[in-house]
Symmetry: C2
């Protein structure tokens, strides 16, 4: 039904735009971090303004040419990489990267979609505030992509996903019209919330070109500790204790398993580890506190209380910014180590908090029936979000398990779903998980999703094949 973005279309489009807006595809637009998906190519458009985005989308609508919006290319589910179908136009927002304005007194900044997350964080810091979204890929990931995928990361526990940090969006809709929604308001109940509809829609309903984002005050004191816990259940009890004592001032709470530490020993021995005996489980906890509280003292008191309750057995509390960075470096090195080891299958699941221990034990037991693996289970346990990744035993390779991958994925996803969880917690659906949407989606939900897509993008030009499987 769609037409390819061929030379004739590119020529027509080029004539409607200022010079230099189109370029031939380069490898970075058609590959992705894990090397699992490869795009079929297309032409790349590089608009400099919302007017140019509008013109491009209008032309694509007229020509019935598919559009793949492209941010930093860091997505892990193939949302930015179209592998089949008529050649698309790849719409990169990289030239729209301005911080349009900063309102420190309002705790708001307005940025264009092509700004990297790190640039947004820096703009907030320069204004004496903080933009709390934090991800491993923040140097490369662009804020438009973060919004399109409703990015999560390590501070969701306290500050929410990016949808909770977004006050308004400017977007180009599939007919080329511009949605002027850059409101800087905390309260605005005037009609259906299109901001929340576009956020997380993975480019299938329109292209976000700019956003008004919330900043938050910088905590007066920040404390970081790595605490050894006996089990994921103990980690959750520790979290509840911390939140109760600290009125919600727990900024991050990350679970780390022994397997992750052993992977670091194996492939990144330069990463310093706080415990000589690699513990079965530990948590990285960070507090962001009001003036008048000493973060180290608060963590020491928490440690004492948690020890008395039998929740923690050992721990280190960072005594300097350098030590804090070192603890975070360990956490942030886990995905790198995983990549070096080479996963058989990676999962980004969430379950209700109280189901976490049950999920882990059920998944381990069920997977033992499929094969033998090294499992690195880690992640944002305070959000119920685990990265539950399987690796070959030493001496084996990823390829040795190629014929088990589908069974593994189905096994893990069935268990998460059965516990009321999600098989796509923070990475999105992309093109990798459209089948999961059909398998696990509530029928009424799927029907509404399709009717929304048909209503807003009747030609189906926006990111074809992402989020929703194309119907036969």
């Amino acid at each position: 039904m769609l037409n390819p973005c061929d030379a004739a279309f590119a020529e027509t489009l080029s004539a409607r735009l200022p010079e230099g807006c189109l370029r031939a595809v380069e490898p970075r637009y058609v590959t992705e971090p894990r090397g699992r998906h490869t795009g079929i190519g297309g032409v790349v458009a590089l608009p400099r303004s919302v007017a140019e985005v509008s013109e491009i989308v209008r032309a694509c609508a007229e020509g019935r040419v598919g559009i793949v919006p492209f941010g930093g290319g860091t997505g892990l589910v193939g949302g930015q990489v179209m592998e089949a179908g008529p050649l698309p136009l790849i719409l990169s927002l990289e030239r729209m990267a301005a911080v349009r304005s900063v309102f420190p007194a309002e705790n708001v900044l307005v940025v264009e979609a092509g700004a990297t997350l790190a640039e947004v964080q820096e703009a907030a810091l320069a204004a004496g505030r903080m933009f709390p979204l934090a991800l491993a890929s923040q140097g490369t990931a662009r804020i438009g992509g973060n919004l399109a995928t409703n990015a999560g990361g390590v501070n969701v526990l306290r500050y929410g996903n990016i949808r909770d940090l977004c006050l308004g969006v400017e977007a180009v809709l599939p007919d080329g019209s511009v949605l002027n929604g850059l409101k800087r308001l905390r309260k605005d109940n005037s009609g259906y919330d299109l901001r929340h509809l576009l956020i997380g829609s993975e480019g299938t309903l329109g292209v976000i070109t700019a956003a008004a984002l919330r900043m938050v005050p910088r905590p007066a004191g920040v404390g970081t500790a790595m605490l050894v816990v006996e089990s994921p259940a103990a980690a959750l009890a520790l979290l509840a204790m911390a939140e109760e004592r600290l009125a919600g001032c727990v900024s991050a709470f990350e679970l780390i398993s022994r397997q992750g530490l052993l992977f670091l020993d194996e492939v990144m021995p330069e990463v310093r580890q706080p415990f000589v005996d690699r513990p079965a489980w530990m948590v990285l906890i960070e507090l962001g506190l009001p003036r008048g509280l000493d973060p180290q003292e608060a963590l020491e008191e928490l440690f004492v209380a948690a020890s008395e309750a039998g929740l923690v057995s050992d721990g280190v509390i960072a005594q300097s910014a350098g030590q804090q960075a070192e603890l975070w470096r360990l956490r942030e090195s886990l995905p790198d180590a995983n990549r070096k080891i080479g996963a058989v299958s990676s999962h980004d699941i969430s379950v209700p908090l109280s189901e976490i221990p049950g999920f882990i034990s059920a998944a381990e037991a069920a997977l033992a029936g499929i094969g033998s693996f090294r499992i690195n289970c880690f992640g944002h346990v305070g959000d119920g979000n685990l990265h539950f990744n399987l690796f070959p035993l030493p001496g084996q390779t990823r390829a040795d398990h190629d014929n088990q991958r589908e069974a593994i994925k189905t096994c893990v996803h069935d268990i998460a779903h059965g516990l009321g969880g999600s098989v796509s917690a923070e990475h999105g659906v992309g093109r990798l998980k459209t089948g999961d949407m059909e398998r696990y989606g509530d029928p009424a939900k799927l029907a509404v999703l399709r009717s929304l897509k048909a209503a807003i993008d009747p030609l189906g030009i926006m990111n074809p094949g992402a989020l929703l499987a194309e119907q036969a």
Copy 2:
């Protein structure tokens, strides 16, 4: 296009439901708090389960009968009161009021739509947690209505609107299908966020029957103070100072004007006031703090710092729970006093925080060109949300200004809109402000709103005439 809910339809519907599900209309279903709207009547359905709601909606879809969802009836914009058109079915959720389950370890509770906000708060307290949404009408307002209108209130500054406190919804869609979306997940990126589409849709896209709601930890210490500020600008500077010192632990920050205090003197002299000379402006500030910080001390230190910066000139810090309640009683009495005085025109606007002083002065100046009024400007200044209400001068009545009302409303709304604000900050659109939607709505937004409504409710049976003006 719709058919009336006449005796024949009621009989058909009754036959499909258990006994006692329908009743004749009573006054409470067709009136509203300010007495401005009167419903045309209809038949009232009182389902006990989501299956019964589904059956009712299905029957209405088959019969093309309009449905007005009804919660606590506390809405201020006529969303729950249909004044014209074919008689509707009034669908009251009052019998679906169960707290279905509480998960203290997850900070989650699942409640049915008919539970009052106060009942939800109590269930959270009983679990050792807190449900932070707080409104003047919380004893009567039902959580389904709170969700349908994305209720705000006094704790939005810290905890967000109710959409930020909702993890998932169960809803009956306009075709009678049931959306099973009661997920208890912090992270779930699997398709367009229907929860956020239904929240704030004012019953025009479906009927929310239950919700999974977030609880938050109870702060270890709560401090409350009333501080005298010179101006709204000084109030905002004080807020910024408080947030910076306290890492976001400011739970409420309410602006109160002298006019409000004089109204209390006039019609509610029993309300104790902390300052003999009624100050031009003051703020009620509440802190919810971690363990280890003394709330009174934190407020004293803030007061000293703010005094040194010239931001506050006087203040009282509550020394007991009784004194805290007294300060809150003053704030909560303002709407009652307003009602006793009798407003000429009430407005629920929001503007970007830094535009608040400009909004107030511009609105006062412009209104002086229309007539002479007493203006009570108060509200959730930390959210940029002001209730800017006009009252007759002493000796005059509301009726004296009847011919000015439209001009007043347009004047205030034009100014708010011109500053990038909203004319419906927290109360919603209802039937009162559909004209404002057309006047101030972004054209692309309005087009999408209509296409969403047509896609999800093609027969137009859900709360006809609310939120979107019916097209000729």
